[in-house]
């Protein structure tokens, strides 16, 4: 892999002062224990990468440090002295802790200038003069984006990556002692990302400490001086630069390198599962001006959708479920007939089911488990508008047994379930509609290993039943261990298609970075 010359200068190496020391932090949201026992240390002048699977508690941990949440337990030391837990982001910022959060947080209606300086002034006193604000904002943005940005433009008129740039600049302008970047590069283009790394290493040289959360191995290896790995709410290891391999990281993150219970099926098994084409995309463009793609999804196969974050995987799934492709056609093949998939409703009618990524987008907060379970299949479960609750109940029980969903009473609010079980409900409720093609958007995101196993087992089962499963995942091993073939996306194009034989972590990673096939 490539490593730029943004290496850490010598003087910073011999143990510099500790900026942050978090010990035995814990934080729970209702039944879900987001962080259970996390300890973390940040030294002056280092970039400390924080890695772990989705939902392993990284974000929560940094939110504890940046005053968004108050910890249930644990102590935070800032610059050597014990601090009473930081109650608000403001408090944290005054203490020199500045965070760029995972969400792209902007005030859409306000100008770029207002956005980057938001919260610096008090309500009555200007901490920074107007002219100075403009000058510094312009410089910072230019340095990051490599081109000037109209300071008076409303942020809602900017592209996503420009917005994220605003968030980053907002943090930089506060002259942080401790800079936290929580997946802050997810929607930046590569050049901007490199410029950001340049800025970060400049800051660290001047004694700033940076905490860096990312999913991209290459980024870690590029600027990470130390790495702390988190798994299901705990910090499991802290490794110094060079003393780790991707493989090992993955093992640490997942807790095992054998993900699926069963030994991986051989090609033969896969071949016989595979049926005729169930769903196909013809001349599909995910963005204007990109290379069109033709994809065929067969019945009974497990197709992985992979790529670096924000390279078009989500757009691809959306297209498949009939929601907004730029151009091209999605066709569902049912019993010899070709049915165009126009809208999500149409797609559903043709047996294409989609499970979104965000649980916030799938669950109905206060409603009961049973109601949540029954939602997508309302029409199926009702005769002339009348709900036949028995059907729903029976099916729910069936899936509870099949997926080992742990729940008290199906009448309880869905919010009483743990993340994994919520996800199981979210998926199983679509299975209840007996879809022929199942589109899953990173379903194992933020659920514990046990739950993952169950899901994998389920998905294989589904494939064996002759359903086509298309699954977007941000985890390499899921692809390697589970998929029959993997579609790797890059810059919103189908970059490569790895079939069962040629499927390996290295192959994937190299494909992610657009390296030609065999090497890496």
């Amino acid at each position: 892999m490539t490593t730029t010359d943004a290496a850490v200068p010598a003087e910073a190496v011999e143990t510099p002062p500790v900026l942050v020391r978090m010990t035995a932090m814990a934080k729970a949201f209702g039944p879900t224990q987001a962080v259970r026992d996390a300890s973390f240390e940040l030294r002056s002048g280092e970039v400390h990468a924080l890695v772990g699977e989705n939902g392993s508690g990284k974000s929560t941990l940094v939110k504890l440090l940046s005053g968004v949440h108050a910890p249930d337990a644990g102590t935070i030391e800032l610059l050597g002295l014990e601090t009473p837990s930081l109650r608000t982001p403001r408090a944290a910022q005054d203490a020199g802790v500045v965070t760029v959060f995972q969400e792209v947080l902007v005030a859409e209606a306000r100008s770029v200038l207002d956005n980057v300086w938001l919260g610096v002034d008090t309500l009555v006193r200007q901490r920074v003069g107007r002219r100075e604000k403009r000058v510094r904002a312009r410089e910072a943005l230019a340095e990051l984006l490599g081109r000037p940005l109209d300071l008076d433009k409303a942020v809602e008129e900017l592209s996503l990556s420009e917005r994220q740039a605003c968030c980053i600049v907002r943090a930089l302008l506060r002259d942080p002692r401790i800079l936290i970047l929580d997946e802050a590069t997810s929607s930046l283009d590569v050049a901007t990302r490199d410029r950001l790394f340049g800025i970060v290493s400049r800051l660290t040289r001047s004694g700033v400490g940076a905490i860096f959360i990312t999913h991209r191995m290459d980024e870690i290896s590029e600027i990470g001086d130390r790495i702390t790995v988190m798994r299901s709410g705990e910090t499991v290891a802290t490794l110094a630069r060079g003393s780790w391999t991707p493989r090992e990281l993955v093992r640490l993150m997942t807790g095992s390198d054998q993900l699926t219970e069963r030994a991986r099926e051989d090609g033969g098994a896969v071949a016989e599962r595979r049926g005729d084409v169930a769903l196909s995309a013809r001349g599909l463009r995910l963005r204007a001006g990109r290379r069109p793609m033709d994809v065929e999804i067969h019945a009974g196969e497990l197709v992985g959708v992979a790529g670096l974050e924000g390279h078009g995987q989500d757009a691809f799934l959306d297209a498949l479920r009939g929601a907004g492709a730029v151009d091209g056609a999605i066709v569902r093949h049912v019993g010899g007939r070709d049915e165009p998939v126009g809208s999500p409703t149409r797609a559903a009618r043709l047996g294409v089911a989609y499970v979104p990524r965000e649980r916030r987008q799938t669950l109905f907060g206060w409603m009961s488990i049973r109601e949540n379970f029954g939602m997508p299949t309302l029409s199926a479960d009702s005769r002339r508008g009348w709900l036949r609750l028995r059907l729903t109940r029976r099916r729910l029980n069936e899936y509870v047994a099949r997926l080992g969903i742990v729940l008290g009473d199906p009448g309880d609010p869905i919010t009483t379930l743990s993340g994994g079980n919520q996800q199981k409900v979210a998926i199983s409720r679509w299975l209840a509609a007996d879809p022929r093609v199942l589109l899953l958007n990173d379903p194992t995101r933020g659920i514990d290993v046990g739950a993952k196993r169950d899901l994998y087992a389920l998905l294989t089962e589904l494939a064996q039943e002759g359903r086509a499963v298309v699954m977007l995942s941000s985890e390499l091993d899921e692809h390697v261990e589970l998929m029959d073939r993997v579609l790797v996306f890059r810059e919103h194009e189908l970059f490569r298609e790895l079939d069962h034989a040629s499927l390996s972590r290295e192959a994937l990673v190299s494909a992610f970075f657009g390296e030609d096939g065999e090497s890496g």
């Binding site: 910022q93 965070t99 969400e103 902007v106 005030a107 309500l123």
Partner: protein
């Protein structure tokens, strides 16, 4: 309510094919930049017609009357605005009863105790601001929809108004010699309305010099962002509500100036008018957009329309329909503009 377009593709922007289409997009641009554009257009048109129809529009009386008469409604609208801008469904239903409450305080309590002089100004405004702040706190601490919380205060205040003046024939009046009357007439050569209407605008302008106003809009636009960036969102909102109360204080003075009397039985008469004026003025009830000036224009156009219908002797029955129509057009335009924005 933003059940937005998850699956449904966002509605088409005005077809910019024809020249007309271009005009439309241009209009929407304008509306995005200046949310009060529509209200301004309306006001100018109505005002122009009024002036044309009026025997001598350049006499002082014309403007004095105009300003004094629309002052209470306009001020009520302006008082409702900061809370709405502060977002989070921000809303203050209690403005109208608050106006009447403060008017009563002035007439029933202050004036008789020889506080009817200029001393009354800080007292009335202060009291208004305090009650506004109370609303804000209620909403922040109970974390309930502002409409509901302020509805409760709405009822309580109406009750208090009626209670305070159990016998409207005793002490419900203010002597015409009181200084307030000038607010409904002239102060030297200047129409009194200029002062009452000018005050909130001035305050608003001065707030513009402080970081507060920008922060308020940011909070209204996206409170999570503001919070994450270290803004004390709760404080910003409470201040917004107390600003509303402050302006309600001014409104009460304008009201007293015209009526020279406390009329508890009318406590809620400005509630719906204010809402309509604000919406007409292009202030988005989602927060973060719009401003005091828009509300002023909104109120102006409502008032002028009523006035014009009288001058033109249009059947008053049509008034309601026109108000409603105007309102719908205004908010729909706002919605379309917002869509155009998102599409960009």
């Amino acid at each position: 309510m933003s059940t937005g377009a998850v699956a449904t593709e966002s509605p088409a922007r005005p077809a910019s094919s024809a020249r007309a289409g271009y005009a439309v997009t241009l209009g929407l641009r304008l509306l995005n930049r200046y949310s009060f554009a529509f209200a301004l257009l309306l006001t100018v048109a109505l005002l122009a017609t009024t002036i044309v129809r009026d025997p001598d529009p350049w006499s002082n009386g014309f403007w004095v009357g105009l300003l004094q008469n629309m002052a209470p409604m306009a001020l009520a609208a302006m008082a409702s605005t900061p809370a709405i801008i502060s977002g989070g469904g921000g809303f203050d239903l209690s403005i109208s009863p608050l106006m009447y409450f403060l008017a009563e305080v002035f007439i029933v309590w202050l004036a008789p105790h020889s506080l009817g002089g200029f001393a009354s100004v800080p007292i009335v405004l202060g009291l208004g601001a305090a009650i506004g702040a109370f609303n804000g706190l209620l909403i922040i601490l109970l974390r309930v929809p502002p409409v509901v919380a302020t509805l409760a205060v709405f009822f309580v205040l109406i009750g208090v108004d009626l209670r305070m003046l159990a016998n409207p024939n005793e002490g419900g009046y203010l002597s015409p010699s009181n200084w307030v009357v000038h607010l409904a007439d002239k102060v030297g050569p200047i129409p009194g309305g200029v002062f009452t209407l000018g005050f909130p605008l001035l305050v608003w302008f001065l707030l513009g010099l402080l970081p507060y106003r920008r922060t308020l809009y940011a909070v209204g636009s996206n409170d999570a962002t503001a919070f994450a960036s270290g803004v004390n969102v709760a404080l910003v909102r409470v201040v917004a509500y107390s600003l509303g109360g402050l302006f309600a204080g001014v409104a009460s003075l304008a009201l007293v100036a015209i009526s020279l009397s406390a009329n508890p039985s009318l406590s809620q008469s400005y509630t719906l008018l204010a809402i309509a004026a604000v919406a007409l003025g292009g202030t988005s009830l989602w927060g973060g957009r719009g401003g005091l000036f828009g509300s002023l224009l909104g109120a102006a156009s409502i008032y002028l329309l009523g006035n014009l219908l009288l001058t033109l002797q249009v059947d008053p029955s049509y008034l309601q329909v026109m108000y409603g129509g105007m309102l719908l057009v205004a908010v729909v335009l706002g919605g379309v503009a917002a869509r155009a924005r998102q599409a960009e």
